[in-house]
């Protein structure tokens, strides 16, 4: 057991904080709205190799592990950076993890090099349209499950085949989501049948894992913004940060933050080590970080009083994203139920899966 980051990981974390702190300050985040994409910042992130930091070196990536990638996602979340780092990292990992024969080498190489910004549609396509694809409005390459085929569709020309879902205001998270047509541009079948379903399922879980890390960053910054405000704002002749009801909610948020961060790191570590419980841990990390980020941002916004409702203060940037980012993966309540069935769903005593998830819930540990 060792719960410390290595010296290299600590150094990476500090570098990432510096980079996103400098390159993605709140002004840049606001300037990138409503689309939610900063092309210049994206080029810099690609220049640092962040979207392929965990791709093996022999495939053109950084050769680092899942924990390093999670640190990058956490730092991006901490500054709500308007770049599709999580999506591109998931797509790049998927492209290099498929059998080489299935993926045209130039496609994988261009994605890993950052010449193509790639993303993965989280839900199976609706006919020829992948709906509400994260980074769908800005990605050059969309990987989507259509029926029993896993397709990579490279956009033709400038439109990217994207149907932006912009209303009169930015979407809740100012995210570059869009519907993408899969019958325009150049399509490659990456996998079919059970292989396609499994590869897509792995990619979606990877997205959840990295989004968990990003949301831990969101929660950390949201807590910091709240603390900064209550430590200076006075009411009834005293600092509002001295009120017990304010302190106690922040104490609960701070406790949950440590849990969310530990769980995201654990899930990344388990993925890296190829452990059987890695999938369940990724799901758990996603669910817990989602709740923690939203509750923390919500509490923090509330403690800002009327200013929290204005667009002028930064907390709204975090509040909106804390709700919106995880929503792209659907309703949490259904995910909790699916998790329970995955952990305990086999009839008791009939198969090894009763206990194979071991740590996250030893189903064999019954009374008597």
């Amino acid at each position: 057991m060792n719960l410390d980051l290595t010296d290299d990981q600590e150094a990476l974390r500090a570098t990432l904080r510096d980079f996103f702190g400098k390159e993605s300050p709140p002004e840049a985040v606001r300037a990138a709205e409503p689309l939610g994409f900063d092309a210049s910042l994206w080029r810099k992130a690609v220049g640092l190799g962040l979207p392929s930091i965990a791709v093996p070196a022999e495939r053109g990536g950084g050769g680092a592990g899942s924990v390093e990638l999670a640190l990058a996602a956490e730092a991006a979340g901490w500054s709500v950076a308007p770049v599709p780092l999580v999506e591109a990292a998931v797509a790049n990992d998927l492209l290099v993890s498929l059998p080489r024969a299935a993926v045209p080498e130039p496609l994988a190489a261009r994605a890993v090099a950052g010449d193509l910004a790639a993303t993965v549609a989280l839900r199976p396509a609706d006919g020829d349209v992948a709906r509400l694809v994260p980074a769908g409005a800005v990605a050059d390459l969309v990987i989507a499950l259509r029926g029993e085929e896993l397709l990579a569709v490279e956009a033709a020309g400038g439109t990217r085949g994207a149907v932006p879902n912009l209303g009169s205001m930015p979407n809740l998270g100012s995210m570059p989501v869009a519907d993408r047509r899969l019958d325009e541009g150049e399509a490659t079948v990456l996998a079919t049948g059970a292989d396609a379903l499994a590869a897509h399922g792995r990619a979606v879980l990877h997205w959840r894992l990295l989004t968990a890390a990003a949301l831990a960053g969101v929660a950390a910054k949201a807590l910091g913004l709240g603390l900064g405000y209550v430590a200076h704002r006075r009411a009834f002749g005293t600092l509002i940060g001295s009120f017990q009801t304010v302190q106690h909610r922040l104490a609960d948020d701070a406790t949950a933050l440590e849990g969310a961060r530990l769980l995201a790191y654990e899930a990344a570590w388990a993925r890296n080590a190829g452990l059987p419980e890695a999938d369940a841990l990724a799901e758990m990390a996603f669910l817990f970080a989602s709740e923690t980020a939203f509750r923390t941002a919500s509490d923090s916004l509330h403690f800002h009083g009327g200013y929290g409702y204005t667009l002028e203060y930064d907390i709204q940037l975090y509040f909106r994203r804390a709700k919106a980012w995880p929503l792209l993966a659907g309703d949490r309540a259904a995910a909790y139920a699916a998790l329970a069935r995955r952990l305990y769903g086999r009839p008791y005593g009939t198969g090894r899966d009763d206990a194979s998830e071991g740590r996250p819930g030893p189903a064999t540990d019954t009374e008597g």
Binding site: M1, L5, T6, A254, A334, Y336, A337, A340, P347
Partner: protein
């Protein structure tokens, strides 16, 4: 990073099971449930006979050569079989405290007696008018020649039914500031002026109120310096909240309830686990349990590196106790009407374990620092927010 939690006691598990098979009598579990006293003298005598209590202690204080790993594995095996030995937990805190602050004479007197199983000490901190605010104790100790005379009342003196001593927090300087006039005494229970009355709890546990009326103790009963009791308490608190106190979440409620929900069918033939609402709540339990495990691991990691796991221990305790109350409440809801059935009632799911643990979970957010105090500590020490309780030395 490496989150794998190796079972350091793996080599001792089989021998521990053998020890328990040979020595543990199942009726002790029923007896603890019936009497509400979470300490069984017959079991304790066997622990002492086989050197399990003395494991890991220095020979000059009565330590033996039994492996501490084996002793710990036996304790865990007995816990797994449903036995409590809370009196030994408190005694361990007391003799560890004596090891840190006691005189050489005290160490040679008290520690070997405890390791032989003859000295068992309950904690006498709380009073009728002070619980979490432990330094507000009003019990007094007044010098009388070489000794002291103690007057006052203590609450929740758990396992005092079978203890030889109570570790009493008393005020030795009524004129000093609140935290500066306290001292600790190891008071024998069999002396004139000592009285015990049972307190029945909704968890089934029977704890005690203990009364001290002109109780005379020798000078050797004073543990640590006169009026230095607050510092002595801090040593003891580390052993209460920190080391070897991983929390009740390890029981794995989600796993037990998940197994039950997977194996149990509703009248319409559907599995309970197929009910989305039940499954959602069980999924939440699994996530909270993992977070709880990680916070505990984090605390132990900090302690293993030589730090004092203050904030980590506080967060860990706050999270698991609050979560376990939610979970047991949800568990009974999921069981429905059968959730009300007491342990061993016919038809009680899982032998009534959920109902029993629901009751017991009530106190987890109260003892060892109420949740409100823990949140104050986190706000103050971790978040740097202003202290909102009256300061030390205040009224």
């Amino acid at each position: 990073m490496d989150f794998a939690e190796p079972d350091e006691l793996a080599a001792h598990r089989a021998a521990a099971r053998e020890w328990a098979d040979a020595n543990v009598r199942p009726e002790w579990v029923a007896e603890q449930l019936r009497s509400g006293c979470h300490q069984t003298p017959e079991l304790h005598a066997l622990f002492a006979r086989d050197g399990l209590l003395a494991a890991g202690w220095a020979p000059e204080y009565g330590g033996g050569d039994v492996s501490p790993g084996f002793a710990q594995a036996v304790f865990e095996e007995c816990t797994r079989r449903g036995l409590h030995f809370d009196g030994w937990s408190t005694t361990t805190m007391v003799i560890r405290t004596i090891e840190h602050v006691g005189t050489e004479e005290q160490k040679r007197a008290y520690i070997p007696a405890a390791l032989r199983g003859e000295l068992l000490a309950a904690l006498g901190y709380s009073e009728p008018d002070s619980g979490s605010d432990v330094a507000a104790a009003r019990t007094t100790a007044v010098r009388d020649g070489d000794g002291w005379v103690i007057d006052g009342q203590k609450m929740f003196t758990s396992t005092a039914q079978v203890c030889s001593h109570v570790f009493v927090l008393a005020r030795t300087d009524p004129d000093a500031a609140k935290h500066k006039g306290l001292s600790l005494f190891l008071v024998p229970t069999g002396v004139p002026g000592y009285e015990r009355r049972p307190i029945h709890t909704l968890g089934g546990q029977v704890t005690n109120a203990t009364f001290y009326t002109g109780v005379r103790v020798p000078g050797s009963a004073l543990i640590g310096g006169v009026n230095d009791g607050w510092n002595v308490m801090k040593v003891a608190l580390v052993y209460e909240r920190g080391v070897g106190n991983p929390g009740t979440m390890r029981k794995g409620l989600a796993g037990k309830l998940g197994a039950w929900a997977s194996a149990t069918r509703r009248p319409d033939g559907s599995r309970v686990l197929d009910d989305p609402s039940a499954a959602e709540r069980i999924g939440r339990m699994a996530v909270d349990e993992e977070v709880s495990r990680l916070l505990g691991l984090w605390m132990n990691w900090r302690a293993a590196k030589g730090g004092v796991p203050g904030v980590e221990g506080t967060m860990s305790k706050l999270f698991y106790s609050e979560a376990s109350q939610r979970h047991y409440s949800d568990a009974l809801d999921i069981l429905g009407a059968a959730g009300v059935l007491a342990p061993d009632a016919p038809g009680a799911p899982a032998g009534g374990a959920f109902e029993r643990d629901f009751r017991a979970a009530v106190v987890t957010t109260i003892y060892g620092g109420a949740s409100e105090v823990l949140r104050d500590v986190i706000a103050e020490r971790h978040l740097g927010l202003p202290r909102n309780r009256p300061g030390k030395g205040g009224p």
